[in-house]
Symmetry: C2
Subunit: 311 residues, 2 copies
């Protein structure tokens, strides 16, 4: 099955306690696509500038990711500059140069219309909604958003939320969106806003899926499912961890013939696994070097560190 992802393909300049990188390949769609490409076929819609060269294309091609949907525009690509201090859970944005992204109007190539799965990475909810409308036949839609859209574009976001089978956000975003400090009540409120399932990412503490009465494609036992995160001695760069989680989660789902509760739970684990790799190196470096064998070995470690009966 194919996943169509729409989102940013960008360059990131990042400073963390472990060092700095200047203009490395990044963007939500990039991290998502690389992570998901280990599980299924990925097609990307985005826009880049003249600074996106054959070298960057090669990163996608090496993972057999279809980038025919990445539009080339005059000017520079989206460029994010950010910093992580001692608290590696939270990025400080130092500068955002939207560049070609400012006038981005997603166009879906004819050849992409048969994609079975759709991931709306974190961009303007108006654009997310437009893409969703043009893909009426997809089987499942997941999406992401962030504080900026929650606080400043609530009405547009409200339309987008009705498009989603599952929304993937972090703790702070969930509480902000629901205006509710208790996560269980926040989740219930968010599922009333449209998403049939909510997945909340807790960074180093793992993730929780919340299921509602309408949850699709599955409703897993007990209303909740929690997947662990791997305790890591060294977090070099958290950028892209959430998008890699989404890629692992959705990529695994899309690779399966049927989405059963057991498949959904394994997808949550694969999300955590992919996030844990991304943070080991700057930018996309770790995902570029990764093998499926390493992924499955780490999946086993996630099982061992959380299961009563594993040895």
């Amino acid at each position: 099955m194919s996943i169509l992802v729409v989102g940013s393909v960008a360059f990131d300049s990042i400073r963390t306690p472990h060092g700095t990188v200047d203009r490395c390949l990044g963007g939500a769609a990039t991290h998502f696509a690389l992570a998901a490409s280990f599980f299924t076929h990925i097609r990307v819609i985005g826009v880049v500038g003249e600074d996106f060269t054959a070298e960057h294309e090669a990163v996608f091609h090496a993972r057999k990711i279809d980038i025919a949907g990445i539009e080339r525009a005059a000017g520079n690509s989206f460029h994010w500059t950010g910093e992580y201090r001692e608290n590696l859970n939270e990025a400080q944005t130092l500068r955002t140069d939207l560049n070609v992204f400012e006038r981005f109007q997603p166009k879906i190539p004819e050849a992409y219309l048969d994609s079975e799965f759709l991931f709306l990475a974190n961009i303007d909810p108006v654009l997310q909604h437009q893409v969703r409308k043009q893909m009426p036949r997809v089987l499942m839609v997941c999406g992401d958003t962030m504080n900026y859209w929650i606080t400043g574009h609530a009405e547009n976001l409200a339309h987008m939320l009705h498009d989603l089978d599952a929304l993937l956000i972090n703790d702070g975003e969930a509480k902000l969106l629901a205006k509710e400090a208790n996560l269980v009540r926040a989740a219930a409120r968010i599922m009333e806003m449209g998403p049939k399932t909510l997945i909340v990412k807790h960074g180093e503490y793992g993730s929780t899926a919340f299921f509602g009465e309408q949850s699709f494609p599955v409703r897993v036992c007990n209303r909740f499912f929690r997947a662990p995160a791997l305790p890591l001695e060294e977090v070099v760069d958290p950028t892209g961890a959430g998008d890699s989680f989404a890629g692992g989660f959705f990529g695994y789902l899309a690779s399966q013939l049927e989405i059963t509760p057991a498949v959904f739970k394994r997808a949550m684990f694969y999300g955590g696994v992919m996030g844990s790799f991304t943070v080991e190196r700057f930018g996309t470096e770790r995902l570029q070097q990764l093998t499926r064998e390493e992924i499955d070995e780490r999946f086993g470690r996630f099982r061992e560190l959380s299961h009563l009966d594993a040895e």
Copy 2:
């Protein structure tokens, strides 16, 4: 097997977003003892004042907890006044009246010397160390501490840490004690300070056990084990959750003939289970009403919400 616990038996006046209670039965040793009493036989060492009446004794007796080691002194019992605002993870101490606790010198009754397990609840590390020295034959010692002792009594705490098979503290305390923001590195540093195993409590995100080369009584696979917490719609009062975790964890361990890795992991789950009950009501109310059937039913829910193969 018997657990001897030394710590505070107190009264708590608590305000949370759910209401207030005035002078309800509390204290670390109280919550620990009540939680652990569902698994094994508990003996308590502490001190109370004249305000500790037959009504309060009855709470312990109802759970068959031996309180012959609770000394009666002239004056009032230890009284803590605190508040939880919207962030229910963190208590604001409004007032601490040590009262009879100020001159507490733990005395171990002859009949307690054959206790196989020892829990040093959060009190002055000098007293914790004294008790440990008087119990040379115990099989396993666990202990707790808090920011106050970490920052102001580092030298005394250092002695106490060498007494411990396992230290149970929360995230912030672990990072403060190790002077290290990364939890894995913090855990390694703390295990160099004495404790053979470290259990870090993450509140609503569960708990992690860290095992070192010397870990005793068991070293569980992969250096880490993570137990979940139950997502709760309503946290009425978090007071005593950590002590209840310790009681469930240590009580279950002490109830088993042999402490294998599988037993240790189940003990982590039982810790989370007992903490999840305590926060449902003010003070010790929920633990007083609890049944073993409810505990095992919730243990099953913890398994379902974290295990790939549970239905």
